[in-house]
């Protein structure tokens, strides 16, 4: 294995006077934040051109810490604000960060419609299987049978597969990574940002406080281990039986469709045509 070292000046992008962040020690969200900053830096985006919107929840606190145009919106609605500003100023690079509850429960409608429109934006879903900020209630991605404060006897609901949902709804770039796979994560974020169309990246992140603690993974180490062991690179998944894939998740690029009609471009093309 080649040794990978990550040397990076995060201070350039952090709003240091807003730190320390609210995330619990050992939370995976900081790893995603840092990966996002490295990806943006790699792409040499100007800070003034980047807009980050978020909803409500742990993940949604991310924008406050980073020096871009940042909008911490209402629960589930971050994509609606993102669509508004992207349509109004298409030159801006618009990124939405959201949790699993925020993106897929209360924000589910906006999720599928942003995907349907294939609007040139990126959504990063921080999936920790739970409502961490409110203390560990049941989430739409919570694995069947697992425990939450509102499913004390085990969840009897099937969870959403974020990536399958995004693909089915029309997103043209879909991938998954984890807070363990930080190097892959950085690369995937950069790919998501450069994809033309709606890109959805699910990141499995660890919440040992609200989720792991109730599900035999009390420490961040156990949860990171879970991410490492359960991840199946998408390129290997094809050789595995459904039984072998049960309880595991695919990582890496899941789906990509190039040259699809993109909403911003289509809209402005039409505006040009009908202009008085």
């Amino acid at each position: 294995m080649p040794k990978t070292t990550i040397k990076f000046d995060y201070d350039k992008y952090l709003r240091k006077d807003t730190l320390p962040h609210i995330w619990c020690p050992g939370c995976g969200d900081g790893i995603i934040l840092k990966s996002l900053l490295r990806a943006i830096d790699k792409l040499q985006y100007k800070k003034d051109d980047v807009v980050i919107t978020s909803g409500i929840g742990c993940a949604s606190r991310l924008p406050g810490y980073v020096d871009f145009n940042t909008i911490h919106t209402t629960h589930g609605r971050a994509l609606t604000f993102a669509i508004g500003i992207k349509m109004y100023k298409p030159r801006l690079k618009v990124i939405t960060v959201s949790g699993d509850g925020d993106a897929l429960a209360i924000g589910g409608n906006h999720f599928i419609h942003a995907a349907r429109r294939n609007i040139d934006m990126t959504l990063i879903v921080f999936n920790n299987y739970t409502y961490g900020m409110t203390g560990g209630q049941s989430s739409p991605t919570q694995p069947y049978g697992s425990l939450a404060t509102t499913t004390p006897y085990g969840s009897v609901e099937p969870p959403f597969d974020t990536c399958e949902l995004a693909k089915a709804a029309g997103a043209t770039w879909v991938a998954r990574s984890t807070s363990y796979h930080a190097v892959q994560l950085e690369k995937l974020i950069a790919d998501a940002l450069t994809h033309k169309g709606f890109s959805v990246l699910e990141v499995i992140t660890n919440c040992h406080i609200s989720y792991g603690r109730r599900n035999k993974m009390k420490s961040p180490v156990e949860m990171i281990k879970y991410q490492k062991e359960k991840a199946v690179p998408n390129r290997s998944a094809g050789n595995m039986t459904p039984e072998e894939l049960t309880g595991r998740f695919k990582t890496g690029l899941i789906y990509e469709k190039k040259d699809s009609l993109e909403f911003v471009e289509e809209t402005y093309k039409q505006l040009e045509l009908i202009k008085q």
Binding site: R15, D48, I71, H72, T74, G84, I85, L271
Partner: protein, 376 residues
């Protein structure tokens, strides 16, 4: 200069008013009886090169409006009762984050689905208190098609000037009736445009309430990087739980409207100088009230009419003054008694009665006249 007069529908006048006022973004969701606003803008605002988008739901429509407004847009949405209920959280967000926007509510009956094709004035208190938490709001109740046109221009101006959501409350009658509108030359109108702050980005505080003045909202993407959150925040926009800041910020949200009430309030008085009985009416009902006033005067009763055009903040000082000499007040409304509560508060020593019809039929002049006679 020859007058440019056009026959228009109320909802059309709102769309036309918005366009002449420089509205450059619309997001909506279909709902009766307001859909014409979005249909007309879909056909015409787009021809000016601006975005009109039908979102997936009412909440998303206001979300998109707020996103665009943060990018510097003069943005508008239109809806009716159930849509107002759904938009309530984002109205609070716009208040809290001081994002200019205009929300048109063509009122219909309720609660719930109510009567989509019948008029109502039942959302007056919702306009004031619909979202959770304390805040101030500006709401306007035009009573004609012509006024819908001009008040939409004023609404967009007030939204930018005070960085606040402004509601236009018409009703199904005003929204669907056709009347003449006197279209002005654009250069005769006062239009308040979105502008960049007059300080460089390093000195910009997006919520500089300590200055006592409304700080311009810097359009995002122009070098002024800042944070917007619905959490209680200080002058830099970042969340805070400092008690003195929470108190000051809450005061500011209310003061910036109420301390400028003279600039924001607008009303019309008819024959109030010598009146023995005052009718307080707004929107389409004020038209019937005007006719009832003539009937009363012809019948020897000295009636007067006070018509709020800005309904929130309520012009209570003027009602207080009028109540000193006019002891009887009648408040006809197409609801079960909403603005009457404000009138009773302002004129607490007077006899204040309501005429409340919620059957979906307009309140006719004769019904108001009968009530006047009954009170005299």
């Amino acid at each position: 200069m020859s007058e440019n007069i056009k026959l228009m529908q109320g909802n059309e006048a709102i769309a036309e008013g918005a366009m002449i006022a420089g509205c450059d973004f619309f997001a909506g969701y279909p709902i009766t009886p307001s859909s014409e606003v979005s249909e007309i803008l879909s056909a015409k605002l787009t021809k000016k090169g601006h975005i009109v988008i039908q979102m997936e739901d009412e909440i998303a429509a206001l979300g998109a409006v707020l996103g665009a407004a943060l990018g510097g847009a003069k943005a508008l949405t239109a809806t009716s009762g159930p849509g107002m209920s759904l938009k309530s959280e984002h109205i609070g967000y716009a208040s809290m984050c001081e994002i200019p926007c205009v929300i048109v509510n063509v009122m219909r009956g309720g609660p719930s689905t109510g009567n989509p094709t019948l008029p109502s004035q039942a959302d007056i208190m919702q306009a004031k208190w619909g979202t959770h938490g304390d805040h101030a709001i500006i709401a306007i109740t035009p009573s004609s098609v012509n006024e819908s046109f001009y008040e939409t221009i004023r609404a967009l101006n007030l939204a930018v000037k005070y960085r606040t959501p402004v509601l236009i409350l018409t009703d199904e009658i005003i929204g669907h009736m056709r009347e003449k509108v006197i279209i002005p030359e654009k250069d005769t109108l006062e239009i308040i445009d979105v502008k960049l702050p007059d300080v460089p980005p390093s000195e910009y505080k997006p919520y500089n309430y300590k200055s006592g003045k409304v700080t311009p909202l810097a359009p995002m993407g122009e070098g002024y990087r800042y944070h917007v959150t619905g959490l209680s925040h200080g002058e830099t926009g970042f969340p805070t739980a400092k008690m003195e800041v929470l108190q000051d910020m809450q005061n500011w949200l209310i003061d910036k409207i109420y301390k400028n009430i003279k600039d924001i309030e607008k009303y019309e008085e008819t024959m109030t100088e010598d009146a023995d009985i005052l009718i307080v009416a707004y929107g389409s009902v004020s038209r019937s009230a005007k006719a009832a006033l003539s009937m009363a005067r012809a019948g020897g009763i000295k009636a007067g009419l006070f018509r709020p055009i800005t309904i929130w903040p309520f012009p209570e000082e003027r009602i207080k003054e009028l109540s000193k000499k006019i002891k009887k007040i009648l408040v006809p409304e197409m609801n079960m008694g909403q603005i009457i509560l404000e009138v009773q508060r302002a004129a607490c020593n007077n006899i204040v009665k309501g005429l409340n019809i919620v059957s979906g039929e307009p309140i006719t002049p004769d019904k108001i006249y009968l009530k006047i006679k009954e009170m005299m």
